[in-house]
Amino acid sequence: MEFSFSDEQHMMYESVLGLFRQEAGPALCRKTYETGAEVAKSLAGTLADQGILGAGAAELYGGSELTLLDSALVFEAAGQTLLPFPLIENYVAATLVDRYGDEAQKQHWLSAMVSGTVIPTLAWGNVKDGFGQEGVQAVRQGGVLRLYGRRKFVPFLEAAGVVLMPVYATDVNAIMLVLCDPTQEGVSVESLESMDGSYPLGAISLNGYRVRDGELVAGGREAWAFAHTMGLVALAQEALGVAEEAFRRALDYVKVREQFGGPVGRFQAVKHTAADDYLMLESARVANRYASWLVSEKSPESPLYAAMAKAYASDTARRVTGDAIQLHGGIGFTWESDMHLYFKRAWRLASELGRATDLREEMARLVIDRGEEEGDGYGFTI
């Protein structure tokens, strides 16, 4: 029984965190607020040099075959340093192509994703969000598969060389995955205003986009569900990183900020907020670690615990980054303070791939409803 990361995993974390602190951090995050997705292009080379891109891919194609458990600490470091790069999208896209793609696709796409010459992104915003997200349909016309529709909230779209998106194939009533090249005909791209300016968003419109050879990835719904599960855990881990950094900085602040003749951190009201936040952070940490491990072990319980981890980390990150503003007092509400950068990022991460309440509904179907069908207990071993 050893419920901890290995020394090797810790060493990788330390080195990646050091690199991210040097290359990213609040300053680069702020720059992204001004310049948008371009920043990602300038980071791609550095990340590729360190073997951080496409890390889930097989070594044969230049990847490092890192499991989600191996990569979890990298996502945490990305959160801590507000890295303005679609790193999770990169990991998920490469892992999907590695697992479901054919040989030619792997040869072509994985080396491009690993080397950073192509930045992949995912059109994985929720289709059922009630804000005009309609999804994309694939229609077969004279032997050619064409895409029609629009996907909003696509991260770093303007820097992306390829957009992996789920499309609905009307003739076969199935979900298909397409690697869409946004520079081709039949595509238009617009940028959307993003509250978390370190995560630029775009909308992609497809008006008869012709799916070419090698752009259709196998796996369909199963592959997309796998992407969803991986994504939940990765986002949870980034949210943890964001929250723990904001927390650490707030803690440093209340130790030095003086009122009533001493540091405000000596007051119980402040201490109790800090203790509550710390407990939530440590709880999110073990939930994430467990979920990462389950996914890496290909456990059938992965979707349940991925949803749990993401819901818990979302609640934690929103609360802790909010408290970090509060603990800073007036300065915490300024643009000059970095606290809003963490706060906005936490809330953005919490909204992705389902609200915490949506995820708990997913869990309820597995825990409450499945148990009812089985008639005894709820189907899990204690």
Binding site: E2, F3, G262, A311, R360
Partner: protein, 398 residues
Amino acid sequence: MDLQFNAEHEAFRERVRTFLQEVLPDGWGTPKHPIPTGASAQAELGIWWERTVYAHGFQGISWPQEYGGQGLSWVEQVIFSEECARANAPAGVNGLGRGLLGPTLLVEGNEAQKRRFIPPLLAGEEIWCQGYSEPNAGSDLASLTTRAVLEGDEWVITGQKIWTSYAHLADWCFVLARTDPSVPKHRGITFFLVPMHQPGVKVEPLVQLTGEAHFNSVTFDGARTARENVVGAVNDGWRVANTILSFERGTTIVGRHAHYLREFETLLGVARRAEGANGSIAKDPHYRDRLMKLWSDIEILRLHGYQVITQLQQRSRLGPEASMLKLYYSEMHKRLGELAMEVLGGAMPYSGGLDSEGGGSLHRAFLWSRAETIFAGTSEIQKNVIAERVLGLPKDSR
């Protein structure tokens, strides 16, 4: 990362399961064989359990064999607690001896004390209670005023202790008493072992809000104990006492998740049968969300447990992070009890109610959980400990 127990540990788990099946009646804790209620029946059950566990070689699992323990590791201890929680096994009456005094003696006691006190503790022949809190020394325990004075070869103890669980059954009490009033409060306290059966000790029951009387007021009026019944040095009792607190807060928590998961399952059964404004409570989005929040909290307690096992294997002691676990489980259990009462709806006032499947376990959890955020250090104290010792915030301004 490896969450598998090895073959040896799994074999141990099988042994524990077999033991529990053998000794607990069929259908234990279900309507088929409800757990006895009433003070004397529970006391009898508790003593029987202590001795049964000992007779089957499961007492003091991680304690050295030379003092009657089993010489195994924390992992086996955790497996045992987990299986007991799953089987709803009785709690016993010597938890303070097993959870607090024993571990302290093993670390702080001298050889003679270990040989004298640990074997009968494990055998369930001597029951222990804890003489810490006083009417005017609760969270501020170090301001306690019970005095101990050396007269010849005996310490003479005078003062009142309160919230003393199992004092009415206990043979011995471990007592914190002031031995030097002239120094700052933390430095003049000594840790004593005091026999309960003597004229200078008076035990009066205190009825808890559950209606039971597990705890008591204990008055020491010139009670005596032998000069050698001091653990650690005279006036070093505060440090000795703090050695145990982290045991109390940490290691007893591992394994609890199985107990809470069982309560959750009962709650889920109730939710399926209970009707609300939108039909079955188990189909109501509001309650589904809260049920899954609670389930997450219980599962995360299991994971915190894995973390504790990992730490104990690496450094065999727990520090202030034990406060975190105590805070976590006690607050969580309060939420469990409250949610259960809300789910019961109009049946909530009836202790049997829809909860009959769990034998009233949800009502018990609901009421008992109010104690858990108070005993062994209130939630507020735990938060101070976390803030100061883990997060490094400055002391002061209570």
